[in-house]
Symmetry: C2
Subunit: 317 residues, 2 copies
Amino acid sequence: MNEFDLIRRYFDRPAADPAVRLAVGDDAAILAPTPGHELLVSTDMLVCGRHFFADVDPRALGHKALAVNLSDIAAMGGTARWATLAAAWPELDADWLAAFAEGWFALADAHEVALIGGDTTRGPLTLSVSIFGEAPAGRALRRDGGRAGDDVWVSGELGMAAAAVRARLGQLTLPEAERALAQQRLDWPQPRLALGQALRGLASAALDVSDGLLADLGHLAARSGVAAWVRADWLPMPACLREQGAAGLACAAAGGDDYELCFAAPPSARAALADLGRALAVPLTRIGALTAGAGCRLLNPDGSDILLEQHGYDHFA
Amino acid sequence: MNEFDLIRRYFDRPAADPAVRLAVGDDAAILAPTPGHELLVSTDMLVCGRHFFADVDPRALGHKALAVNLSDIAAMGGTARWATLAAAWPELDADWLAAFAEGWFALADAHEVALIGGDTTRGPLTLSVSIFGEAPAGRALRRDGGRAGDDVWVSGELGMAAAAVRARLGQLTLPEAERALAQQRLDWPQPRLALGQALRGLASAALDVSDGLLADLGHLAARSGVAAWVRADWLPMPACLREQGAAGLACAAAGGDDYELCFAAPPSARAALADLGRALAVPLTRIGALTAGAGCRLLNPDGSDILLEQHGYDHFA
């Protein structure tokens, strides 16, 4: 099969969404946006050897390439609608593509996200996904709405994805069961779309934790024109990471690849957030606050600073 | 400067477009689509060593990365609105990035296309652009509207971009002046946006010539459920390629990278198309026709077939 046949076979599926007037196969897709809504657009590039290991399970990679983009729509409080996939592959391996497509479409179907276009070329394994979501006009969650006095919250648990990478690289040792769980978190992140949508009207600002909590919260604080602090002992992290001391804390506070939502909300929203976490069965943990000033601090219970070697992931460091 | 500083410096420009509610710097851009219009979405990936040479002028590359995407919106008869840029760079070279951004924004400003988001990572030089356009609902040009009896037209001239590549690879010899012109066509394609918009209501089907005329016209014919033929002696190609015989014809008929528009239109549109070409100062040449059947043929004046070694570019051939 040639390039076009393979694309047709694995990626050209009829879209059930009536707003997709024309999907894969023309110069551009034609979409009918929902009246009264704004369009949310994000794009992420994943490079082999940097964002994933060369021997990654292609099914997991198909899932993750879409999941990290869905996470951006979740962070905006949006509904995910459509996606494009551009890919450079070193070779066309039908089995690999079939598994990749299986991982992609299982997640896409769960969130009713149609694949509306893309591009395929030969090259070092690189994936570039653009995701399109919608939110009622003026109601999307942004990074710049945080105010001094707001609480800082995070969903789920932090650190296991980074721990899986470090375990693989021999920098960290995890018991077998925890290592499998960490690998699961790394390979199969679950975007928090229902949570993001429910946070509209509750959160003042939000983003997803992709580069590492302190780096990402630092972006939120900077865009909001405030400072932020988080308490190390309040961070939701599994016992196996707590037991690692500083190395475990570094995974949770600065490791990245978590795809949880970090958000600010006024203290008046605490009860509603507790209800929301129960309703969605998603742990929501208050981990700090926004204050006047600038910067992002990680604190001990006594208020003293914890200094990590790095706050987040710098691709060119 | 780190990754974030460089992105801010070269790529984070305030958008003049009031429909851009939020551009670079959040988890997603927020856009207000135009009521009564459909959204056009396309994406293209450019890989170093495949789509461009490693020593390419970064200003030309910035232009071309956007131009090939704008060409897809032109082929749909749309107005270009917004773009995202995801890039893997082997290193962060400020001078290189400045030149790349200069080439990008010169073209973007000319077509009022705002850069609304993107992603940056380290990796083998790879660019992935998504482009967003709009067209009045139901009026975008598609590939599947061609009918038997339609004329087939192409804009501009064909073959010089491919000739530049072949000259560079030592497969073709061009006089110095023609070689410079060919390099200009390869590096600085001009997307036919005004033409595409004017073709709404005139053309029955359209696409842009990116993979090679015969391959692309073959796609149009297949989507339209018809056959196509083009006359080799009718193809608009410069004298320096005509003089090359079969090698020159291969550039024009199957070389690719032209970014001209190929379209079908009923014979009743001939006078209007002649007027349009004059009004836009864009050569429009009738090169063949659609007929009942399937496939795409290249013909001699006597109606016999010309068989080329390849009809178009297959990335994995």
